[in-house]
């Protein structure tokens, strides 16, 4: 039995993002294009990202939080993918989704562990008063960091889903000579 190399693509390369979803002069197959959606996406994409950050920041005292914020941000990317297809994502996301997932999880777990080092029970949080320039005094909780981790994690998961179920399938279909 020979020990065959299992992956079709070189091991180092198979999950590097190669698709791009940035709307640019280039477009994917011309007849697949929806002008209305593309124009709307140009406005909606940044708005949704800002809204997702808002949800993340107010999450401790109001409805929102890392999970819902991350989902909204993820939906922004889904919209972008729907409008832009799988050509040219590179300009938006160059980080591999697994790295995002891992980083988010790391941030959250470390946030849970830090109180232990300070002699408090695990997952403890403290109130945090920060004076920001222009904004003034902001009161928040250290558990915001946990939410940041969750936010990053969820964005990573959505991007991973888009990669494997969206552009991955599209690429396979193109390879097989099929069309949507």
């Amino acid at each position: 039995m020979t020990a065959a190399e299992p992956e079709r693509v070189p091991f180092e390369e198979w999950d590097r993002p190669q698709e791009g979803w940035l709307l640019s002069g280039r477009c994917r197959d011309g007849d697949d294009r929806t002008l209305l959606l593309e124009v709307a996406t140009r406005t909606l994409f940044p708005t949704m990202l800002v809204f997702s950050l808002y949800l993340l920041l107010v999450g401790h005292y109001s409805p929102g939080g890392g999970f819902s914020g991350g989902l909204v941000a993820g939906l922004a990317f889904v919209l972008r993918y729907t409008a832009g297809g799988d050509v040219g994502l590179g300009a938006v996301v160059t980080v591999r989704p697994p790295v995002l997932i891992g980083s988010g999880l790391t941030i959250s777990v470390l946030t849970a562990l830090v109180p232990l080092a300070l002699g408090a029970p695990v997952l403890s949080s403290a109130k945090l008063e920060v004076v920001l320039p222009l904004v003034g005094s902001v009161s928040t909780q250290t558990s915001l960091l946990l939410d940041v981790g969750v936010y990053v994690l969820i964005v990573g998961v959505v991007l991973d889903l888009l990669r494997s179920l969206g552009s991955g399938i599209a690429r396979d279909m193109r390879d097989a000579g099929e069309r949507f």
Binding site: A3, F11, I101, G102, V109, P121, L123
Partner: protein, 518 residues
């Protein structure tokens, strides 16, 4: 004395959950670096084993350790609790997880070289370990659900990863049944919460006692049903022999060793804490009898070595159910000892089956033979756990079974009858395992069959088996022998665990600061 936060060892309690999670995160980020993944996995599991050992010593010495998450004391907040039973099972489970990981890593290196690793295997493996730890340590019904979900979601990936369409179909049985049981679990939690207004296990112990008896019985049966599916008790076992044999060798070993026992642990925890009873539980006695016999008889009819082991796994779940059904301190402690022994021995047998398949290229008993001559080491590795599972003295299986039999015989006429069934099932187990011995190890050596599925993760029919794979399996055999060698102290620990479980007060006082009769 409700200053559980001041417990000097409380800080250790979250680490068996958080360290594997952190390891999973690091291995996802470092998915390009196989060496990093392997080192992280082994280091994390070594650390968790050490912590579990400390937890066992401390909880045995000074009683249950409680860590309130975020400083919110129970019943408001979520508490992690390590008592003798949970620490013992955590220790044994982590050692098994570690050995199986070493085995899996060396298999991968032997088949595909040092430079490749799967992006998903290591993160999911550690994720599963985190879920198992959380299930053992949580003192909260809903967190128990979360723990099961973490564990099961990781297991869905592990069982369907890189395999053939036919095996994925078998994996879907597993996924569907697990999802169904999760749904039932969630429903049961909702009902428990609606009836009592809390999901903290210690708090529930007091409140369930105040419910009308009928309602409490329904809740108890629902939880029994949920954990019965997860623990594969007859007649809810049908999914197990169809799905485990289709998983890659190391993954099957991990599942066989851990997952059903986590279900059984949850069953013991909830039934003893929430629904205490004074007499043997007739329903569970009947189920235990059916489980022992159906599993053992099913094993006799198998030609596929992994299916045979899966049926034996089901059969021996019945032994533990018997211990719980008798419902006294001696029997429950016997069941705890049996669980510890069962985790190691089943994982070992599945690893050995992986080694056998690797050499013969098939899982079918009638196509192999003569391994005693071609692979004598393998024969030794098979013989010891096989005798242990059958319960031949002086192995760990005998010690655990003896504890169960003594407790059963002392508990009344019906438990004594079921204790007789235990002996019958043990003999059937011995017969089934001897059949494997005759087919696989005796006879004329047969040539290895070619790999019928060369695209999947596991290569079989190869004679190249690296030493570390043997060493990992042998390590588990040693753990199993150690259980027999240290049977005295271990029986003492599980004995005290059984008394604590039935008494309930040590747990309740540690978590709530007051006894059960509030």
């Amino acid at each position: 004395m409700n200053n559980a936060a001041a417990d000097p060892y409380a800080w250790l309690l979250a680490l068996p959950v958080l360290l594997p999670l952190l390891g999973a995160a690091v291995t996802v980020i470092g998915s390009r670096s196989p060496t990093l993944q392997r080192v992280v996995g082994i280091v994390v599991l070594l650390a968790v084993s050490a912590i579990a050992g400390v937890l066992l010593v401390v909880s045995d010495g000074t009683g249950p350790i409680v860590a309130p998450l975020g400083g919110w004391a129970a019943p408001v907040g979520i508490a992690l609790v390590a008592d003798r039973l949970s620490s013992l099972l955590l220790l044994v489970s982590t050692l098994v997880t570690l050995a199986v990981l070493v085995y899996a890593i060396d298999q991968r290196i032997a088949d595909y070289g040092r430079g490749t690793a799967s992006t998903t295997f290591h993160p999911m493996y550690l994720m599963l370990s985190a879920g198992v730890s959380l299930a053992y340590l949580t003192g909260d019904l809903f967190t128990l659900f979360v723990a099961f979900e973490i564990m099961l979601t990781a297991s869905y990936v592990l069982i369907t990863r890189r395999t053939s369409a036919q095996k994925i179909r078998a994996g879907m049985t597993y996924v569907t049944v697990s999802l169904l049981s999760s749904l039932l679990f969630l429903t049961a939690i909702a009902l428990v919460y609606a009836a009592t207004g809390t999901v903290n296990l210690a708090d529930l112990a007091g409140r369930v006692a105040q419910l009308p008896p009928g309602l409490a019985t329904v809740l108890g049966l629902m939880l029994l049903l949920v954990f019965g599916i997860k623990a594969a008790m007859v007649p809810l076992h049908f999914w197990l022999p169809d799905s485990y044999p289709n998983a890659p060798g190391p993954v099957a070993a991990l599942f066989a060793g851990l997952l059903t026992k986590v279900g059984f642990y949850a069953m013991v925890r909830t039934q003893t804490l929430l629904f205490p009873r004074d007499d043997p539980w007739t329903l569970l006695l009947v189920i235990a009898t059916a489980t022992m016999l159906v599993g053992a008889l099913g094993a006799l009819a198998q030609n596929d070595i992994n299916r045979l082991l899966s049926f034996l796994l089901v059969s021996h779940i019945g032994f533990m159910l018997f211990g719980l059904a008798v419902f006294d301190a001696a029997a429950v402690s016997g069941a705890a000892l049996y669980a510890a022994h069962h985790i190691t021995v089943l994982a070992t047998l599945f690893l050995v089956s992986g080694l056998i398949t690797r050499r013969t290229g098939t899982v079918l008993l009638d196509r192999m033979g003569g391994l005693l001559r071609t692979a004598p080491w393998l024969a030794a590795l098979y013989a010891i756990p096989a005798l242990t599972l059958a319960g031949v003295p002086p192995t760990a299986g005998f010690v655990a079974k003896l504890a169960l039999l003594q407790a059963g015989a002392a508990a009344g006429p019906w438990p004594t009858v079921v204790a007789g069934v235990v002996i019958v099932a043990s003999l059937l187990t011995l017969y089934a395992l001897a059949r494997v011995w005759v087919r696989v190890f005796w006879g004329a050596p047969k040539a290895a069959l070619p790999d019928d599925d060369p695209d999947d993760e596991v290569l079989v029919g190869t004679s190249r088996t690296p030493m570390p794979m043997f060493a990992a399996t042998a390590g588990l055999v040693v753990v199993s022998l150690a259980i027999a060698a240290f049977a005295g102290p271990l029986t003492a620990v599980t004995g005290r665990a059984g008394v604590d479980l039935l008494d309930r007060d040590p747990y309740l006082v540690a978590v709530l600061g007051s006894g059960g009769d509030r």
